[in-house]
């Protein structure tokens, strides 16, 4: 291996002593978190959607410019409850992209429906009007449209499509909390949108999620479904109650994170700029640009691997992981995994053609601008030593 730098995968010392993740892990000011916590210490209400939860719902409704917000203990269960409340009765399928969140089909299964996978648009990497249309049929109960990691799907087009066919539309907007589409804030499209506040997301609530909607009746129903146990609440006749309330500690954390969200985006912007500048000179790697017009949070760094890149995606990821750079594939198509329940898995030519081309590089609070410099350097070295590295694999 003369001339080849000592990669950790082949016995060298890892570049980073501490792992560099892709998750945000945002740490708000502790005093702010403690300040909110004092409120629930004062009224001694620790859960069952107390004052902090209500405050968070009001603040998030302002943030997304929507009528109502319903908190949940996770984005996952927020999704399940929303789908279960909105899906058309007497129909069995929910359309969702296979190239998306790795538990999308599980959420649909818990809601009691059959996932029907659809393809993505090669430009946005997300569902589009045509890909959804191709999956529509007389069994379709709901469309679950997911925004991609970078930029937006055609939210307006899909909202219009749902209206045209009379099918409810829910957006999986977990990665799109800060964004806007056609000048409208994400949160107000479709019948409802669902967000996660897991610590790897833009807003860190330790764990948590919420649903945004302009449909006040839906918000009331969600309250009844979640808070059936409280004296003043009842689930509507046909709704299936399920206790998935957000506790007050998690609400306090969410409020502290929300207070600092604009400052956070400024920091992400600087790191994103470092990546853009650094990747410009690397043949075969191209960053997926955040569109200024869509009010990006600049948080996620998605890179497209081109023909000029000498290594496969998986080899690249293995090399990086050994260096403690926890880069990962953009999604793995859901129809590639097996499941315990029935799913409709048609051919998805675009997904199949592109899914190996994208990786996500480390970003967020644990990654400094200096770290990004080192990541760019090692990517540059990998790019320049591609054939030697590939031969190492052959002799391995």
């Amino acid at each position: 291996m003369i001339g080849l730098p000592q990669f950790a995968l082949f016995g060298g010392k890892p570049l980073f002593a501490q792992a560099k993740p892709t998750g945000n892990l945002y740490r708000p000011n502790i005093e702010r978190f403690l300040g909110y916590s004092r409120l629930f210490y004062r009224n001694k209400r620790y859960t069952d959607e107390g004052d902090l939860c209500r405050m968070l719902e009001r603040r998030l409704a302002e943030f997304h410019a929507v009528e109502r917000v319903a908190c949940a203990n996770s984005g996952f269960w927020g999704h399940v409850l929303t789908m279960s409340a909105l899906a058309l009765p007497g129909r069995s399928e929910i359309i969702a992209p296979a190239f998306g969140y790795r538990r999308t089909d599980d959420m649909i299964a818990w809601a009691g429906y059959v996932p029907h996978f659809c393809d993505v648009d090669p430009e946005t990497l997300a569902v589009g009007v045509n890909t959804v249309k191709a999956a529509l049929n007389e069994r379709t109960a709901l469309i679950l449209a997911a925004h991609p990691m970078v930029n937006c799907c055609d939210a307006q087009g899909i909202e219009d499509l749902g209206r045209e066919y009379g099918i409810p539309v829910v957006f999986d907007s977990v990665e799109a909390a800060y964004r806007a589409y056609n000048g409208r804030r994400i949160g107000g499209f479709g019948d409802a949108e669902v967000f996660s506040m897991h610590s790897t997301k833009l807003l860190n609530a330790f764990e948590g999620g919420y649903v945004t909607t302009n449909n006040t009746n839906l918000a009331k129903r969600l309250d009844g479904i979640k808070r059936y146990a409280s004296a003043d609440m009842r689930a509507a006749e046909d709704d299936k109650p399920l206790d998935m309330a957000l506790n007050e500690m998690h609400a306090a954390m969410a409020l502290a994170s929300l207070d600092e969200v604009d400052e956070q985006v400024v920091l992400h912007r600087r790191k994103y700029d470092c990546y853009v500048a650094g990747l410009l000179d690397i043949d075969g790697l191209k960053i997926v640009e955040h569109k200024e017009s869509e009010r990006p949070d600049y948080r996620l760094i998605v890179v497209r691997i081109g023909d000029a890149w000498p290594l496969s995606r998986d080899r690249t990821l293995r090399l990086l992981e050994a260096e403690n750079i926890l880069a990962r594939p953009y999604y793995t198509p859901l129809n590639h995994r097996s499941a315990e329940y029935y799913r409709v898995c048609p051919d998805l030519p675009v997904t199949e053609a592109i899914f190996r081309d994208f990786i996500v590089l480390p970003s967020g609070t644990h990654v400094s601008e200096e770290d990004i410099g080192k990541i760019i350097d090692i990517l540059t070295i990998i790019g320049l030593n591609g054939s030697e590295l590939n031969s190492c694999w052959k002799t391995e």
């Binding site: 993740p21 998750g23 892990l25 740490r27 502790i30 978190f33 403690l34 916590s37 004092r38 210490y41 001694k44 620790y46 859960t47 069952d48 203990n73 996770s74 996952f76 269960w77 790795r102 538990r103 599980d106 299964a109 818990w110 009691g112 897991h198 610590s199 790897t200 860190n204 330790f206 764990e207 059936y228 146990a229 299936k240 109650p241 399920l242 206790d243 998935m244 309330a245 506790n247 007050e248 500690m249 998690h250 954390m253 995994r337 097996s338 499941a339 315990e340 329940y341 609070t365 644990h366």
Partner: protein, 396 residues
């Protein structure tokens, strides 16, 4: 004995300024909470990502030691614990559950695609009625039994285990009320195939919202952990139920576990105070500890005989609520009455009309209990007057 009743329902001024809640609500002091929060912020480990966090792991280990059980899987709430166990046991059909149970317990079966078959209770202990259970098992087609340890007491676990073995069905328990209870030398948490605890703030061990699954079965524990939604690359086919416990929830749980014995003793003192003040009032029977040789005394439950007390349970609740005493019925409606169900369950319906709970836990003192009992005593002495006023109000 005064001739003029001093009850708030006549005078208009409640005896207590703040509401005395039913529910435990033990919680760490501010200083301990602040320290725990600062530690978590320093570690920047907020919740499990690829694997469970250090506090969740420690909490699970300490629970394992405390309960004498091989595996504890900590989860975000009680509903998740029950749904994960039901699913992991492979139950998809008819499961017997007492109708005298919380909606969370019964709904956990519906969300897991099981059909609840309602069982009656024993009139004295209010625990599952073995005779009723035997009859239902005899009809066949039963896949499992979901027992419920009620009121800080225990189910007849030995008999249940024998019945389950005899009929070859899976036995598991909702142990929400029974953390720290023991039957002879064994803790609740070690019986049946698995048990599910709730760490909702109303229970003796609180994580604000939360719960855990306990089992001695290695494979079942692994299945439950994978469903919880930690990094599960080895088992990608598993249906996720996303129910990770956050680090701050675990931090509260660890502190409450340290305080457990102290809180249990306090509950015992409060329990004995009620017994002392209420024992001479005709028509009030205190639900005696049953099944458990060690109780956590987390619930104080009475049964009213209107013919001797002079008032119905709901009359008494109205008197107490006017004093700001949040006495409760606990279960809004037994499971079999919340839906069209073909059978009557006599003991359950009897309990439903006559059972009440009084405040016990962190938010009530012995002096306040003396006052609560005075209210009950006064309601008894003036029962005719109270009844006439309530009737007039109902008509008016």
């Amino acid at each position: 004995m005064t001739s003029e009743p001093s009850l708030a329902m006549f005078r208009g001024t409640p005896r207590f300024r703040g509401l005395l809640p039913v529910g435990q609500y033990y919680w760490p002091t501010w200083e301990r909470y602040e320290q725990a929060a600062r530690d978590i912020f320093l570690r920047r480990f907020y919740t499990s990502q690829r694997f469970a966090g250090p506090l969740v792991i420690r909490f699970q280990q300490q629970l394992q030691e405390f309960l004498g059980v091989k595996h504890v899987v900590a989860v975000r709430n009680a509903a998740s614990a029950l749904m994960i166990v039901t699913h992991s046991l492979g139950l998809r059909g008819k499961v017997i559950v007492p109708s005298w149970a919380s909606m969370t317990t019964i709904q956990s079966l519906r969300w897991s695609k099981c059909q609840p078959v309602f069982c009656d209770i024993d009139p004295q202990s209010q625990q599952i009625c073995l005779e009723s259970l035997r009859q239902l098992l005899g009809r066949g087609e039963i896949e499992g039994i979901l027992g419920v340890h009620l009121w800080g007491n225990a189910l007849p676990v030995r008999e249940l285990e024998m019945l389950a073995a005899q009929y070859g069905v899976a036995l598991y328990q909702d142990a929400s009320h029974a953390f720290g209870c023991r039957v002879n030398d064994k803790a609740i948490g070690t019986f049946g195939r698995a048990e599910a605890f709730s760490f909702h703030a109303a229970n003796i061990l609180s994580t604000a919202e939360g719960g855990c699954i306990t089992t001695n079965d290695d494979a079942l524990a692994a299945h439950c952990t994978a469903m919880r939604g930690d990094h599960v690359s080895a088992q990608v086919w598993m249906q996720s139920a996303t129910a990770r416990m956050s680090e701050i929830q675990a931090a509260i749980g660890l502190m409450m576990l340290d305080d457990f014995e102290q809180n249990r003793e306090r509950n015992g003192q409060l329990h004995r105070s009620y017994e002392r003040y209420l024992s001479d009032i005709p028509g009030i029977t205190i639900l005696k500890p049953s099944g458990a040789t060690v109780s956590n005394f987390q619930n104080f439950v009475g049964v009213i005989d209107p013919s001797k007390f002079g008032l119905t349970r709901d009359n008494l609740l109205a008197v107490l609520q006017a004093e700001n005493i949040a006495a409760e019925r606990h279960f809004h409606s037994p499971g079999h009455l919340a839906e069209p169900y073909p059978e009557r369950l006599e003991n359950t319906e009897f309990a439903m009309q006559r059972t009440f709970q009084l405040p016990i836990g962190a938010r009530v003192t012995i002096e306040q209990i003396e006052q609560i009992c005075e209210v009950i005593s006064e309601a008894y002495r003036h029962s005719e007057f109270v009844r006439s006023v309530l009737t007039a109000r109902a008509v008016g």
